[in-house]
Each structure stands twice: as C-alpha cells, then as structure tokens.
C-alpha cells in the first residue's frame, strides 16, 4: 500500500514538472539558461512518473534512490541559491525549507517500505500533511476552529485609533486641517468624551468626540474643538 501511495505522489509531482517546469528554479545556477532548466525538469518529471509506477508495483528501490538524490540536490540548492525555489513540485515558487527535506525524506522512507501495509501508509500521509506547505494553512484554520481562537473574547472598548479615524473622516477635521500641524500628541477620556490633542503653529488644538463612536456607528460625528494659544496654557 505504501508503494501505491508513493507512486501516486511521485506521479503527481512528476506530471506537475512535465506540465509546468519552473525555469527560475535553483537549477539555473548549474545550467546556462531557463530553457534548458525546463528541459531537465521535464526529463526528471518523466523519470519520477516511471519510478512512481515501479513503486506502485512494489519495487521501491528506485524511489529510495531518487529520494536520496533529491536530498543531495536540496542541500546543494540551498547552499548555492538560497532564494530560488527547488522546482520540486512546480506549484510553489518558495525557496528550499525544512519542508522540502521532509518531502524528500518521505520519498526515501516510502521507497524502503514500498511493500508495507495500510498502517505505515496512513502514518506517511499524516506526516506528509504536516510537512507539505499546502496543508499548513488549512490545518491551522481547522485547529483554530476546533481548539478555540486565542482572541475569542475581544475587549469592548473603542480604541483611540478608531476615534482618530472617525475624527479624520469628519468635516471638522478637514476644515481644521490647515491649523493642525502635528500628529496625535495625546489622548484622554473624561465625562464620556474622548479628547485628542494636536499642535498647530503656537497653538494647541483639542478635539472632543463621543468616546464610544466609530465610523461603524455614525457618519457625522459630533466634534467639539478648542484652539488654545500656547501663551494661554497652564
């Protein structure tokens, strides 16, 4: 059973290479141009399909040898061209990571155990799911859904940034735009109001808005404004 699963996996990645070889993969460090990289990757894809067929028929040695070859190639690619993709599955352009080694390691293990039954095959599939990039995000989404979201109980307060956002959509802000020169200097809450302090040219500008209002709750906020000369400050 392991051999059949391995055969399917190799057949799939082999066909992917045949159809869409990554001409920009790390092999361009070895070969003169992207065209030849694609030729080599296509050839490799054909070999993978044949090795996969052999594995499915219970002959695992070629697959194990191919896996060892992949491991060596990955080590070389990571040293030689750390930013380039390995060209392994043709669907991802990500550079070589530990996941790539994990995949190649599974090919070796699968090749050595091609004759084994369904249990090792199931273990292999689980490991593949953990190792394969495409499964990471769905698995994490599932974990959040089943295990609970770490931010399931959010604070209810309106953040200051939301009040600033509301102020900046108000007509009062646009009309005062010529007065205000600084960014937000300070904010504080009092009596249900939220105060936002800015600086103008030798003036302090204070806006007051409903501390609970946001752009979700109102399109025309009540804004109170004071412009105080620096000389009048306490």
């Amino acid at each position: 059973v392991v051999g059949i699963v391995l055969g399917l996996a190799l057949g799939w990645s082999g066909l992917a290479k045949l159809r869409r070889p990554d001409g920009e993969s790390a092999l361009v460090e070895l070969l003169p141009d992207a065209r030849r990289v694609r030729v080599v990757l296509r050839g490799l894809g054909a070999v993978e399909v044949l090795v996969g067929l052999a594995a499915a028929a219970g002959v695992g040695a070629p697959a194990a040898a191919l896996g060892v070859g992949f491991l060596g190639y990955l080590g070389w690619a990571q040293r030689k061209a750390p930013d380039r993709s390995c060209g392994c599955t043709a669907t991802t352009s990500a550079p070589v990571t530990w996941r790539s080694y994990g995949r190649a390691g599974l090919v070796v293990a699968g090749g050595l155990a091609a004759g084994a039954g369904p249990a090792p095959a199931a273990v292999g599939l689980v490991v593949l799911a953990l190792v394969d990039e495409r499964w990471v995000l769905p698995a994490r989404r599932l974990a959040l859904r089943l295990g609970g979201h770490p931010h399931a109980l959010p604070p209810q307060d309106v953040p200051v940034a939301a009040t600033v956002e509301l102020l900046e959509t108000s007509l009062a802000w646009h009309q005062a735009a010529g007065i205000v020169r600084s960014g937000l200097l300070e904010s504080w809450d009092a009596d249900g109001w939220r105060f936002l302090r800015y600086a103008g040219d030798r003036v302090t500008v204070v806006f007051a808005l409903d501390a609970t209002a946001t752009t979700d709750t109102t399109a025309s906020p009540v804004v109170r404004l004071a412009v105080v000369p620096e000389t009048a400050m306490v």
Binding site: A94, P95, V136, L137, P138, R140, R141, L144, H149, P150, H151, P154, P155, D157, V158, P159, A161, A162, E165, L166, S170, L171, A172, Q175, A176, A177, G178, I179, R181, S182, G183, L184, S187, W188, W193, F195, R197, A199, D201, R202, V203, V206, F207, A208, T214, T215, D216, T217, S220, P221, V222, V223, R224, L225, A226, V227, V228, P229, M233, V234
Partner: protein, 196 residues
C-alpha cells in the same frame, strides 16, 4: 494633569461642531495673529526627512538619510512622536529609523511637526495566530508580528478599527502597520488591515 483639565474645559465649554456645520465660524484670528498669512502655505512648505538616527543630542536628532544625505531634526514640545503609539521624544533611541515632517529653518535644520519612529507598512500573508504574536510572510520572508494589548487594532472589510482580533484567520492577506524592533527584528503591530 492640570493641562488636561484645562483643555477638557476649553473643548467642552467652547464651540461645538455638529457634523457638517460651521467650523467656518471658528474665530482663529487670535490664534494665528502672529503666524503666516495663509494657512495653505503652511502645508506647502512642509519638508520630509527619513533615515537612521545616528545620534541624539538634547532635542536634536542627527539622521543619516537613505540616499547618503544627512538631516538635523529639531524636536519641540509641539512635535508629535509616534513609536507604535503616540509617545514622547524620550522613547527615541539611537539606531532607530525615522520618518519626519516639518519646516526647514534658515540654518538648514528641520523643525519637526511630526516624527514616526521605526514605522513599517507591509503587505503580508497571515500564517499563524498566537496569543501574543502573529506569524506572517512578506515577500517570502518570515515576519513575526507582536500583538500589543491596548494598542494593536484591526479593521475588517473597511469597517471601523477595533481591538477585536477574533476574525484573524491563517491564509488572510493583511496589511501590517507597525513599529519595527531593531533589537530582535520583529514588528510590534499597531494596525492590521484585513480584506476578508
């Protein structure tokens, strides 16, 4: 906090602007008596500076610009300083990156109106959601985003900014506004903009 009480009274006792009504009625003449003739001109003459802070002498930042130029940036009590949140000049450290807006003085220095320290704005893919951090990738590179309680906010589908992070899901495209931490090369997250 006397100043806050004073300003609280000034704002609540002063003029009220309801929605689209008249800020035109604001009698700013007194406040601007000694400043430039037109307010618009003040906007036009703003200059910008960005770079790495090489030295801090009193309230002056010596900044090495990204294009080899140098800036001398003066901070005043009216300068707003952002470093993840609004803060004071005391939070600025040598080695920080800065982006500032201000007015060119006759001696060539820049009197800063506003300074943003270590600000970064990254288009990322959200890969993992933890209790105190996010795992992100930006241009294939891994970015660790630190969540800061009371500061980190998010907006979903153009909605209002909220402290609600419960809608973050691995796989989402997020824009991360935050403050880079030179010490450990992570990003303190100020704002997450999530499309879906």
């Amino acid at each position: 906090m006397d100043r806050r009480r004073f300003l609280t009274g000034a704002a609540l006792g002063g003029m009220t602007i309801v929605g689209a009504s008249a800020l035109g009625a604001l009698d700013a003449d007194a406040a601007f008596a000694s400043t430039r003739a037109t307010l618009d001109a003040g906007v036009v003459e703003s200059v910008f500076a960005e770079g790495r802070i090489g030295a801090i002498k009193g309230s002056t930042l010596h900044v090495a610009g990204s294009w080899g130029e140098t800036h001398v940036v003066q901070l005043t009590t009216a300068t707003s300083v952002w470093k993840l949140r609004e803060t004071s000049a005391a939070a600025i450290e040598v080695g920080d990156g800065m982006y500032g807006r201000g007015v060119r003085m006759p001696d060539g220095t820049i009197a800063a109106d506003a300074v943003w320290v270590n600000i970064v704005n990254l288009e990322c893919t959200l890969r993992g959601v933890g209790a105190d951090r996010l795992e992100l990738t930006h241009d294939r590179h891994r970015v660790v985003g630190r969540l800061v309680p009371g500061t980190t906010v998010a907006t979903y589908n153009g909605g209002a900014l909220t402290a609600d992070l419960s809608r973050l899901t691995p796989g989402q495209a997020v824009r991360v506004l935050g403050a880079w931490r030179p010490a450990d090369d992570t990003v303190d997250v100020a704002r997450l903009t999530v499309a879906a």
